[in-house]
């Protein structure tokens, strides 16, 4: 991502919010991600220079925590829960179906057209309605391969 003057305005605003956060890099990365959907490398360079915090530290933290994304993500985010309850209730099958529907190859999480990102999380804490899938922040309980495929098809339109 290029740091245009518009982006710079945003970054300056984040910098201001950040000063209230006790110099916490995680908070800063969260602010950046809230803004851009992921953590663009160029923004890390920008903040590193201004805060005198080494870039390596940003990178170490950004790659440590699973909820930080280094790459741009799809327009629609499908989050499949892989917690214990979901696992024993067949989350794998549901996820598999979604992968096939989205045409994602092994190791891929985002479709080539950047329309969808499929991610797996440890547990969203809705075990009693397992298996759970979250589509664009809306929680769907008792998912099946069929229902999820239908939801994805609907979003494709």
């Amino acid at each position: 991502m290029e740091i245009t003057s518009n982006v710079e305005k945003t970054l300056n605003r984040i910098l201001k919010d950040f000063s209230a956060e006790e110099g916490n890099i995680i908070s800063l990365l969260q602010l950046i991600q809230d803004e851009f959907g992921y953590i663009p490398e160029s923004t890390v360079g920008w903040f590193s220079g201004r805060l005198d915090i080494p870039e390596s530290r940003f990178y170490g933290i950004a790659t440590f925590y699973a909820r930080f994304y280094q790459k741009e993500r799809g327009k629609n985010i499908i989050t499949a829960c892989c917690g214990t309850a979901c696992h024993v209730k067949g989350a794998d099958r549901v996820i598999n179906a979604a992968r096939i529907e989205l045409g994602l190859a092994e190791g891929e999480n985002t479709t080539d057209d950047m329309d969808f990102t499929l991610e797996q999380v440890a547990c969203v804490g809705a075990c009693s309605i397992a298996p759970v899938v979250i589509i664009n922040k809306k929680v769907y309980g008792r998912q099946t391969s069929g229902r999820l495929t239908r939801e994805i098809k609907a979003l494709k339109k």
Binding site: E41, V44, P54, E55, S56, R57, F58, Y59, G60, T63, F64
Partner: protein, 346 residues
């Protein structure tokens, strides 16, 4: 002072001493890969585990401070078994190429593997494989040999204050790397090489110059800035193999990029090997006899014709004190002028 008993030896040590240091003071060596006396304790390699009476599980000696009346056991069948497993695990994710490794013979991991006699590995499995090699000109970073002891990260942060590298990712995927896995771009002080317990970090220019065999160590002083760092030249066949520094020196074993890597000039083919005399605007090689004869003649002539103060001498801040002494003595006692200076002002 705190009284502790280590392997039956009673001793008293300063408050805030770690169990590891207390043991060292009793001449008991506890194996470790991630500890460095000048860096904050890490507790990652789990080799320095010891048993402490009253604590129901082994604890790492490097991170545990002594307390009054503490009774420590540094070696037992249980501890040795755990250490062995840990070592085996490390080696299961480490290339088995000691025969061609730069660090062989000077490698802590190799040494421990030897003492624990680890030949077969019960845990053979996936190894980290990195396609990309770091393209920096000075430090060879073979991250497949990295055991994630974190010493390089700590030294870069705590001693050098640069933090050019950090651990990225986590778990089995953890990797020490510069931000965004770019090529290393740092002060190239080489501190990381000095603390690395394996062959993961070595000097690129030292490659294939020789390992431990036929090496002669010469202690001398760095030829660069005024800090006067103590360096040790590892010499093999009239060539510098690598440069190190001992820890008990005024520079505490640390060097900078020039002190570590700046020695190529010694073997540069452009070095002057014979006296040169300018003849019709061009240099020609000559013998010492001829060159010195010419210099003596010219200086004598100038002195006779224009007086001693028509001659000036510039000595050098890069020559030894003895040479500088002789130089000014030459100017003063032989030429008889005080026109002698050096570049202190520049």
């Amino acid at each position: 002072m705190i009284n502790v008993t280590i392997d039956g030896i009673k001793t008293s040590v300063h408050r805030d001493t770690s169990v590891l240091d207390a043991a060292k003071q009793c001449d008991i060596t506890i194996p470790t890969l991630c500890h460095h006396p000048k860096l904050t304790p890490y507790g990652g390699c789990r080799l320095c585990i010891v048993e402490i009476k009253g604590i129901n599980r082994p604890v790492t000696a490097c991170t545990t401070p002594v307390s009054e009346g503490m009774e420590v056991t540094t070696s037992s069948p249980v501890l040795e078994k755990l250490r062995r497993t840990t070592l085996e695990l490390i080696l299961s994710d480490h290339p088995n190429d000691c025969m061609v490794c730069e660090k062989a013979g000077d490698c802590t991991l190799q040494e421990l593997a030897y003492f624990y006699g680890i030949k077969e590995n019960r845990f053979a499995g996936e190894r980290r494989v990195y396609e990309k090699r770091d393209g920096n000109p000075l430090i060879e970073r073979d991250m497949e040999k990295c055991i994630l002891c974190n010493k390089c990260v700590r030294v870069c942060d705590e001693v050098q204050g640069v933090s050019a590298i950090d651990i990225a990712y986590r778990g089995f995927r953890s990797k020490v790397c510069p931000p965004y896995e770019r090529d290393l771009d740092c002060e190239f002080c080489g501190q990381c090489i000095r603390v690395c317990p394996t062959g993961a970090l070595t000097g690129r220019m030292w490659s294939l110059k020789g390992r431990q065999k036929d090496i002669r160590e010469v202690d001398t002083i760095c030829p660069y800035c005024g800090c006067g760092c103590n360096i040790t030249l590892d010499i093999r066949k009239n060539e510098i193999v690598r440069v190190t520094s001992k820890e008990d020196t005024i520079n505490e074993g640390w060097l900078c990029s020039k002190g570590t890597f700046g020695y190529k000039f010694l073997n540069d083919p452009a070095r002057l090997t014979k006296p040169l005399i300018k003849y019709k605007g061009k240099f020609r090689e000559s013998t010492w006899e001829e060159a010195l004869g010419l210099v003596a003649k010219k200086l004598l002539k100038t002195k006779e014709k224009h007086g001693p103060d028509s001659i000036a001498g510039l000595a050098s801040a890069r020559c030894t004190s003895e040479e500088n002494y002789l130089f000014q003595k030459f100017m003063r006692a032989v030429i008889k002028t005080n026109n002698v200076d050096h570049c202190a002002r520049l």
